[in-house]
């Protein structure tokens, strides 16, 4: 291969962009050709000088504290979403509340009596069911073992499309009233369950399974999961967030 041909490839060679065969040809030629070797040396120095200079720029900026307060400055200029306008449900709730205030003096005693009756019936039923329906609270530091019937109904944002997320799935059981053609939907990493969706099964072979409360409603748990960095200890463990 002649020098003109090689010199056309020197930059790609230096940038590791040549296929292996072509790269070997350049290496062999440069080992024997002083002219091409000198040209390669110049290109290499140029790259080194430019890179080192701008590395020095960044180091000097850090050393001089230029990045102190950088985040605070960015944060102060961020456009955060405004409080949403009251939706139709909020307005409906306000109407219901106003109606309740007008009729509560009659309804409260009636509802109290009905509530006592419901509690008595509920206690009777729960005593006759198995241990999984005891209503235990999941405390921090517990370990999730993925049994479907241990997971309660919950609400959360919509299931989002998978963007190539890796391992870990959950099957969501959506109410039949929604006429969902896929009542059981597999949800990979990062997904959060939809309103009134109950997770029937989950399994992850690495990452966090986080069961947390929907911030809009503390009584409605949400399931998300994300991947964590390498665990140096290599052991499975449970930890509270």
């Amino acid at each position: 291969m002649d020098c003109a041909h090689i010199r056309e490839r020197l930059e790609s060679y230096l940038d590791n962009e040549l296929p292996e065969e072509a790269s070997k040809e350049v290496t062999s030629h440069v080992d024997l050709c002083a002219g091409c070797a000198a040209e390669l040396r110049e290109l290499s120095r140029l790259r080194g000088f430019v890179h080192a200079h701008y590395e020095g720029v960044a180091e000097a900026a850090e050393r001089d504290g230029l990045f102190d307060g950088f985040w605070e400055s960015v944060e102060s200029q961020l456009e955060l979403p405004a409080e949403p306008e009251p939706g139709i449900w909020t307005q409906l709730a306000a109407t219901v509340e106003a109606w309740w205030r007008r009729h509560s003096n009659v309804l409260v005693p009636a509802l109290a009596a009905a509530g006592v009756l419901a509690i008595m019936v509920g206690l009777t039923i729960s005593r006759s069911e198995g241990p999984n329906d005891e209503g235990a609270v999941l405390e921090p530091n517990s370990v999730a073992r993925g049994a479907s019937d241990e997971l309660p109904p919950f609400a959360g944002p919509r299931l989002m499309a998978d963007k190539g997320a890796p391992k870990g799935v959950a099957e969501a059981d959506r109410p039949a009233v929604r006429k969902d053609p896929l009542p059981h939907r597999r949800a990979p990493e990062g997904m959060v369950a939809k309103n009134d969706t109950r997770i029937v099964y989950y399994e992850v072979d690495c990452g966090i399974v986080l069961i947390d409360n929907d911030p809009r409603d503390p009584d409605r748990p949400t399931i998300v999961w994300h991947f964590l960095p390498d665990d140096e200890e290599g052991d499975e463990k449970a930890e509270a967030i």
């Binding site: 930059e11 430019v50 947390d212 009584d219 994300h226 449970a238």
Partner: protein, 227 residues
Amino acid sequence: MNTRGGAYVYHCRLERGLERDDTILVERSQRGDQAAFRQLVERYQRKVYSLAYGMVHNPEDSLELAQEVFIKVHRYLGNFQGSSSFYTWLYRITMNVCIDFLRKERKGQAAVDYDDQRGHHEEVNQGEFPLVSSVATETPERVQSRRELGERIEAAMATLSEKHREVIVLREIEGLSYSDIAEALGIKKGTVMSRLHHARQNLQEELRPYLQGTETAGGGDEAQAGG
């Protein structure tokens, strides 16, 4: 059963890749997690600053432009679909912000021909140049040599047109591959190679005495390898 105010985790070993971390942080940021967005900012602030400096050669302007980049990233993060990697998308925004800045600056100055003609030396910031070496025992002569080299590099970069400066900055400062540069700038890979070649030729002409060793860089004849 309810998770009343608590959360628990199932945690195991995982191989960590920066790109996967970016994906996780981006998704959290898209859901309004400000702490996740802050992590993205802190991860990339120095890189974005370096790129901006490579384009505009002024520390104060570079810092402001870097902040502007992240404000735009936050504003348009909802549009980021993940079809490209986050960092190439970030670098595209960075280049666009810098180009806009340079064009606004030019409007206030006499028209300058940026056809990479030799001898076009734009006024360069003559303030304190960062010293490339961190060796504490450098001689004053070496310090001066490095300072001169820094001035020459910035003067040479200033002779490049914006489109040639872009590719050099992304290649030599960030070490991006040709494909990544093409993706970041929205151009073809062949165009990247052509512009890099043109830019390097011009820089070689401007810096030849240093490259051939007739002028010293203060750190020996062999420059440190770049990305």
